[in-house]
Amino acid sequence: MKKPNINLREPSMVMKLSRLGSFHQSKLSFLRSFIREFKSWNYKRDLFDLNKDGHGTAVYSFEKKGRSYSLVCFAQHIKPEERSDRVIATKWDSAFVLHDGTPSKKDIDRLRKNVPKQEVGRVTYKELTLSRANKSVRAFDHVVNSLSIGKQPDKELLKKVGYLYRTTAVYGSGKFGLADRFRIKDRKEIYGPFRLEMMLVYLVRQFTFDQVNHIAKCKNSKKAVMLEENIARNLGIGNSTGLGMAPFIVNHPTLLHNWIYCREKALKEIRSIEKVDGNDFNIFKSCLDKSKMNIDTWLTDSQYQINKIDSLKLDLSKFFKYLKNLNSEENDYLWNLVYLWAEQNLKEECVEYIVSLMMEPYDSIIEPLINKMSSEEEKYFNIPADRKVSDLKKIIEKNYKSIIEIDFKDKNSTSNFWFISKNKEEPRVANRYEERGSDLEQPLAIARDIKKLYEKLTKNNQKKTIANFLLSNDDLRHVVRRAFIVEKFPYSEIQDNTIGASLVPIDMLRLKLSFFGAVKFDPRSDKWLRINMYQGAPLPHEMKLSKDNWVYNSLN
């Protein structure tokens, strides 16, 4: 068979919010690459000093060749009325910090005074990531009560919840005094993005299991039993994610490019395989079968998500029929056939689901890409101001084709604005024409500002330099920088209007969360959602022998 012409998918297609909001976890996801990287490290519970109610301090660590990372946990009593997943909360059931190395007693005392306060406290460059979490009270109490009377918890109830604790934010990279990324960026084990955030969440998960076992035992030392590992393994850590994540992907264009580019490169390489090995095809089919079970238990009250899940289920049944007649031995470029068929017959949600699954058999393609998913953003900050106005105009025409066609005189195109809330310094989005504050708008209206830049460039002398253009156009400097970045990094820009009336902010969150490796997206509004991380993941003592496709082993 003649080799088909297989290219990277165009940014104009991939970078649409509806497409990005249909992404799913994959072998590239950060929590999976974290487990692959750290499975050879030594896990230890260094301290477990909790009272009968489960309040106190615990320390967990990973160590290898003299380097260690320690999670310090502080659990406290809070009243039911104080428990809130909102970022504006001031108290949490537990607070966590990942310390670089082994914390001394002095460090732990210092952290105890600060970590439970989160944003109000201060940490130091010796700390790497910070988080807090609340119990899922119905699941937590049920598990403790069951274990204390010698019974395992009701799996049906746990299936509905999926975790014992929900984190409400995970901070890193210099926030609240944490170490700046540059201090640690050359450590090979953390080349992949968000690796230390992933480590924190993973160790928090183990803390939740140890905590329920401990409380149950204190409650009834004679009868209490330990939580069965099969049940624990199928519990993850929940997370409530709000708009804070959305500006991140706009503010880190080269990083965004690297994530998407690696995904696209993997897809291209897989589609370009001429003879697909039967075993590899079976791995794909097996993961697909198992994952279908997960979709069936994906519960949400959100009509938006229900529609997405229904469409996914419907499309998957079509896909299963198509697969029945497909044989890897008879078809050259099998993955390309599969992909092209999916694009023609299925909706984006299912196409991207299949794209994720297509990566499963291919460690050799995926593994080299993992280390390319970080970015040295500083390198691309300077504007090449000696370039000509005509150059920049051409860059915009090539890379923002659909953006410059948007009519921003139409109020629907500018209905929203992004701002930082005064009380919690968190990003928010509001209606420009109904709410106050648009004069303090954040520079996240990229589409509108690019269009404005384009119109000004068009009227300008094409031979003049960008330096000359910027002399009288300071207000466009931020998008001039972006346009030159997109020239080198074509997947760095969302190809949609992030302030339009039809904006669904959770599409932006879902993009980032899929790269984290989150599952069970459960939107609670168009502005925040709940997810689950590490459901089905090996327990720490099982990591060394674990297989990477654990994500499909979840029973819940």
Binding site: T124, Y125, S173, G174, K175, F176, G177, L178, A179, D180, R181, F182, E378, F381, N382, I383, A385, D386, I420, P443, I466, A467, L470, L471, D474, D475, L476, R477, H478, V479, V480, R481
Partner: protein, 204 residues
């Protein structure tokens, strides 16, 4: 201690609040991170300058020549910086450039440091008995780095692009080279015959 990331973000937001466009504020954020990293009091200077311009905004240069004097009282160090940075490749040919009456001149410095990196030449900066040597945005050497005295205005800033010259004589280099030769091993005739390109005609 504040992280550099916090310094960047807060400086950016404060600059925007003081009236700079977002793109310019982004430059300031990055610059404050650099200044503080180099051990220079960026945040202190920025804080004072932003307070000052809330009352009286200072001037942006329309273009940069060998000698630059503000039409009003003072030049803005941030606008001087953005214009200098954007035009640095052209300005290199001027060799020595002077600015007169610049507010909080330390805030001009990180732009010049970045220009040094872009053009690949060291830059010497002098004002009010302060000398700085900017090394490709990797380091800044100063003659009084511990001086916490804030200079709110430089009557004259002199900026010189330094040619990429050796800081040692040929004699010193030769002496060092001779010493380095003591790590070399005399080749045998047989190994000479096996070296790259040996034994083949080069006229093929």
């Amino acid at each position: 201690m504040q992280s550099f990331s916090e310094i960047d973000t807060t400086s950016k937001r404060a600059s925007k609040a003081a009236g700079f466009a977002w793109g310019v504020a982004e430059e300031v954020g990055k610059n404050m991170r650099n200044l503080e990293m180099f051990g220079l009091p960026g945040v202190k200077n920025l804080n004072l300058y932003l307070k000052k311009i809330k009352k009286t905004p200072s001037e942006k240069p329309k273009k940069i020549e060998k000698k630059n004097k503000p039409q009003s009282k003072e030049f803005c160090p941030i606008y001087c910086g953005t214009v200098f940075l954007d035009n640095c490749k052209r300005l290199e040919s001027l060799k020595l450039i002077k600015f007169f009456n610049v507010s909080y001149p330390l805030l001009f410095l990180p732009f010049l440091s970045r220009a040094s990196d872009i053009i690949g030449k060291k830059i010497s900066v002098k004002y009010e008995k302060n000398n700085f040597l900017l090394n490709f945005d990797k380091t800044i050497f100063s003659n009084n780095i511990n001086n916490s005295k804030i200079i709110s205005k430089a009557k004259e800033i002199s900026i010189e692009f330094l040619e990429n010259n050796n800081l040692f004589s040929i004699k010193e280099w030769k002496e060092l080279y001779r010493l380095s030769e003591e790590t070399f091993v005399e080749e045998t005739d047989s190994s000479k015959k096996k070296g790259a390109g040996a034994g083949l005609t080069d006229n093929d």
